[in-house]
């Protein structure tokens, strides 16, 4: 089977800092892949390169067999790469409804009725448990709900690859349980790349885990093997809360 996403020698420097340093990475369709690693390991920078939010210093990105390294972000989104921001970046002054309507109306092709937008928006809000808050300004939602709204916006893009950057940060335990169910459901139709600090969430969801450290891939394996890996424990798990 052909990987959905491949990167070859992907690098990004910030001044003298090699935030992402020659990363070779492959992701199979349908997989839930967790990316873990200490703060500053380069995880957000890596997925930002994949989504096109920032440009690589060198290296190549292949999505669904095509080189997308030079494509602007909005075209990558249209090809099916959706990115939810680590730093919550919903439209604070717009209602939750309008936040989700933006991705929904774009994925509806050719002049379909207003009803189609409403149906799509409410479906995404229902799935993330935000339906009863549809008309609140997004900025007035609690932090956890804003994170879920980010996920709803990502979902509404009907992505083939959904990148979630620390989605459970700030969620209550009960919300985390719902979130795990949600990601499992999303993964039926999409490949999921999940950056996550919460190890129980990672262990429950991930098919495979990639460990980043200092801009490089330190290890990549099944959750069980990663748990046993000494180098990983030293770099990351040992310092985990």
């Amino acid at each position: 089977m052909m990987p959905l996403l491949t990167t070859k020698g992907l690098s990004r420097n910030f001044g003298g800092l090699r935030a992402v340093d020659g990363v070779d990475f492959a992701l199979m369709p349908g997989e839930i892949r967790a990316v873990i690693g200490p703060n500053g390991a380069g995880k957000t920078t890596f997925v930002s390169l994949v989504s096109g939010r920032i440009q690589p210093s060198s290296g190549m990105i292949v999505f669904d067999g095509a080189d997308i390294t030079g494509l602007p972000a909005y075209i990558r989104v249209r090809q099916g790469i959706a990115y939810t921001f680590q730093i919550t970046s919903v439209f604070a002054n717009l209602s939750a409804y309008d936040n989700v309507a933006l991705p929904v109306q774009r994925t509806l092709s050719d002049g379909r009725s207003k009803g189609a937008v409403r149906t799509g928006v409410m479906a995404a809000l229902e799935r993330t448990g935000l339906a009863d808050r549809a008309h609140m300004p997004a900025g007035q939602l609690s932090y956890g709900h804003q994170r879920l709204l980010e996920v709803a916006m990502g979902l509404a893009l009907k992505p083939r690859l959904l990148i979630l950057d620390e989605p459970t940060q700030g969620l209550a335990d009960s919300e985390i349980d719902n979130f795990i169910t949600l990601v499992r459901e999303i993964a039926k139709n999409a490949t999921v790349l999940l950056i996550e600090h919460n190890m129980p969430v990672v262990m429950q969801l991930a098919d495979r885990i990639t460990v980043f450290n200092a801009g490089k891939i330190l290890a990549e394996d099944t959750p069980e093997a990663i748990r046993e890996n000494a180098a990983v424990q030293e770099a990351y798990l040992g310092t985990a809360p």
């Binding site: 989504s51 939010r53 602007p72 972000a73 909005y74 989104v77 249209r78 990115y83 921001f85 970046s89 919903v90 439209f91 604070a92 002054n93 717009l94 209602s95 409804y97 309008d98 309507a101 933006l102 991705p103 109306q105 774009r106 994925t107 937008v117 008309h135 916006m153 893009l157």
Partner: protein, 320 residues
């Protein structure tokens, strides 16, 4: 915003149009003429609001779009002998093309650079008008001759110099543009424009080509401003270079700020209010511009969202 009570907004807009219609029969002559002028200039402000209010792009060069319509229509009548409707369309087309070109160039910049670039282009446009004085009349401007300002509709012909015809034509243009702009801002496209204003990076990450959307907004905005300019030339019969000067780039900004950016009726209220204040104060003192200036400063300090913006924030959340 786009979800809030469309019926109410629609009713309000029709109510305002009906009120302006009735006022035509009630106002004394002087105010009748003034209001016709204000309605045409409010169209200019609505065009400006499209870009500034909804997309958050602050241009300091919109006088060039107004002037493109003004000179486009004026020259078409004076130099080419075109009929009124054709000249109007010609003026509008000039503005649309100019806006497309300026948009392609100026949208490479954002923020302060965008302000400066648009201002520079407008200055070039202004200087070109002065340079080609043989055709444009230079700083003297041109008068559109009265006999040419006639709208022939089959057997009947309407003289645009007639106060009632002039008022009703101005009201017609105002109404059409009001209904079009309110439809645009409620549409899916309007939602994208507001998203760009709120957070352009995020909008891109939802798959939107924000450059094209902004370019379209510049063209819509420039076209509306040109329609205002073209109507001004044909209704009031004067085409002058002062309308292309920097003052006429700043005025629509003030009108919109005053009335309320990103409100559909703010441009009308702002234009009306400013003329009203100037009218009253100039009756008392020759330093009326000073008073206008102070009034503006107070307004921006205490009502930064403008008149309708503040009303919407405090009392009427549904206000379009």
């Amino acid at each position: 915003m786009s979800e809030a009570s469309p019926a109410k907004a629609y009713t309000l807009h029709l109510g305002v149009i009906a009120l302006l219609f009735v006022l035509s029969f009630l106002l004394p002559e002087y105010y009748h003429g003034l209001l016709a002028r204000i309605m045409v200039l409010a169209v200019f402000a609505m065009g400006y609001n499209m870009l500034f209010g909804y997309v958050g792009l602050l241009s300091l060069g919109h006088a060039m779009f107004f002037a493109a319509g003004l000179y486009g229509a004026g020259l078409a009548v004076i130099q080419l002998g075109w009929s009124v409707p054709l000249a109007f369309l010609g003026g509008v087309a000039c503005g649309a093309v100019l806006a497309l070109v300026i948009g392609l160039l100026a949208l490479r910049t954002t923020g302060v650079a965008f302000m400066i670039v648009t201002m520079m282009f407008a200055q070039v446009f202004y200087l070109l008008i002065l340079y080609f004085a043989t055709w444009t009349g230079g700083d003297q401007g041109m008068v559109v001759p009265q006999p040419a300002r006639v709208l022939s509709l089959g057997a009947t012909s309407l003289e645009l110099t007639n106060p009632t015809v002039r008022y009703m034509t101005a009201l017609g243009l105002f109404s059409i543009v009001l209904l079009i702009t309110s439809a645009i801002v409620r549409s899916r496209y309007g939602r994208v424009l507001v998203a760009i204003r709120e957070n352009e990076e995020r909008t891109k990450m939802l798959g939107y080509d924000t450059f094209s959307n902004k370019l379209a907004a510049v063209v819509v905005s420039g076209t509306i401003c040109a329609a205002s300019g073209a109507a001004y030339a044909l209704l009031f019969g004067y085409v002058g270079s002062s309308f292309a000067s920097v003052q006429y780039s700043i005025l629509p900004l003030l009108w919109v700020l005053l009335g309320g950016a990103a409100t559909t009726l703010g441009p009308l209220i702002g234009t009306l209010f400013m003329y009203y204040v100037i009218d009253i104060t100039s009756g008392y003192t020759s330093a009326y511009l000073l008073i206008v200036g102070i009034a503006l400063i107070l307004l921006v300090l205490f009502f930064p969202k403008g008149i309708l913006g503040s009303i919407r924030q405090r009392w009427l959340g549904w206000l379009p």
